[in-house]
Symmetry: D2
Subunit: 155 residues, 4 copies
């Protein structure tokens, strides 16, 4: 899928589809000498959003995944368009939409919007459930698939 | 360009083309509870590589760009494939190849490799030179274009 | 003041004195390969607490201080005792108590507690209001002193 | 020991005593909207210095300590004086001096200096060797004590 298509898809889903949503305050710690968010911190915001979604949306916390089960949910692919800068003190809206599920993988779109609803960062992540001892992908458990399915958008 | 094409292009350029190269130690600060690099830290490594390239490869440091001139060189687009995990204490090789230049923009490929030469992270970044007071793109100065051109690879 | 004295003082103030309080979720991004908070991230939590206090407690946001006025509120001295580790997913309570004010400086105690009220990190910070263009300390404005005074604890 | 005493001690040791020394480039990623190092990043520099000292000075890497042995070397106490700001592009000198050893603990002084030799950050850390499975302190092994002893300064 090219970038233009993914933009349309995300815009469509933002308006009429289920998503997992949080708010993110742009902190001093996030900002660089240009006075705007240092872009690696946007990816930390992406990871925090996935973490919150797993815990609150899927009832399958990183603590459960990583510490208790010895699994992992690494990001294996990432795309991001940094559309407009974000400034100290702004409260962003972060939305996560599931685009599709594979046997072990989750394709999700992420959208960070400003207080004025303008798009700031648009991203795509592919997550894969893995067994950390073997380093191999493992199938998403059935009950987890059912939870994830409630966040899937078509487009 | 799809992911498969970009992989081919990066692999080709890694073997027979000029690049800007640094080494990156994987530090305790970079690693997560799974014992591997936390992926937003890879993007910090990307940014450090661009910073080193500007200073040492182009003689146009971030200090000069951001502080002295009031300009910026934000990343406006990013893609990354996290191919294999990186572990505490490993020394990675980081390579930057310029794919193309626009009036104000630089398209670069980034490759992080392990001590065994295996590919760990493959990325693409699009950087744009901007005037921070107006927030608008500005043309890459002529002498800078000449410097950048020495890092351009065909594919 | 030695460490034993400061501990007593903080404990006393925690029980019967005014403080500024927030909650802090221990995120995956905060944790190291030992599965606990990487200690520089505790200092980021300290800075976030000061930032929240300035914005919500004093109505004098970092955005106002740093961006709009060209001032700064750097931490010039720091002490911290890391009493017990904090783990992924825990929600910490963060308290800030003002110990004293100087002409330009604020002495504050910080306490991070676990979900079970146990002390995890105890800290002291000295902040100084500065004019960034001259790099010199400036007197805390009168209305700000009045706001700060409401958070001062004796002990 | 009060702050004035510790300053004298560190200054003395800097001139005529053994230390472990590295260089630290102040990166864009380290700097805040005020254009200077964000202070939690100084503590990351402290941790990096301890990490380099363990690996290169003591031949006892964090990878060996944390991953292979299941131990930890957490910082349990920290003090820092932020004497003067550090700016983007500066190359700092980082020195570590061991002040004393206990059964399980190491008391070290840290000094970050600017390119002009001026003091920028002075710190003290107390590290404790622990067994992560029990969470308890363990005695520093004999051969490690011998290595550490070569970095001990009197004063």
């Amino acid at each position: 899928m090219n970038v233009a298509e993914s933009r349309t898809a995300i815009q469509g889903s933002a308006q009429d589809k289920p998503s997992f949503r949080t708010e993110v305050l742009v902190r001093f710690a996030d900002c660089d000498p240009a006075g705007i968010v240092f872009y690696p911190r946007f990816l930390e915001m992406f990871n925090n959003l996935v973490e919150d979604w797993c815990r609150d949306g899927l009832k399958f916390s990183f603590d459960e995944i990583v510490i208790k089960r010895g699994w992992g949910l690494p990001t294996v692919h990432l795309e991001a368009d940094f559309i407009a800068p974000c400034r100290l003190g702004e409260v962003l809206t972060a939305d996560l939409f599931v685009r599709s599920m594979g046997t072990s993988s989750i394709n999700a779109d992420i959208l960070l919007s400003g207080p004025d609803k303008s798009e700031r960062v648009r991203g795509k992540v592919v997550l894969v459930l893995t067994d950390r001892s073997s380093g191999r992908a493992i199938a998403l458990p059935g009950d987890l698939r059912i939870s994830i399915a409630t966040f899937v958008v078509s487009g």
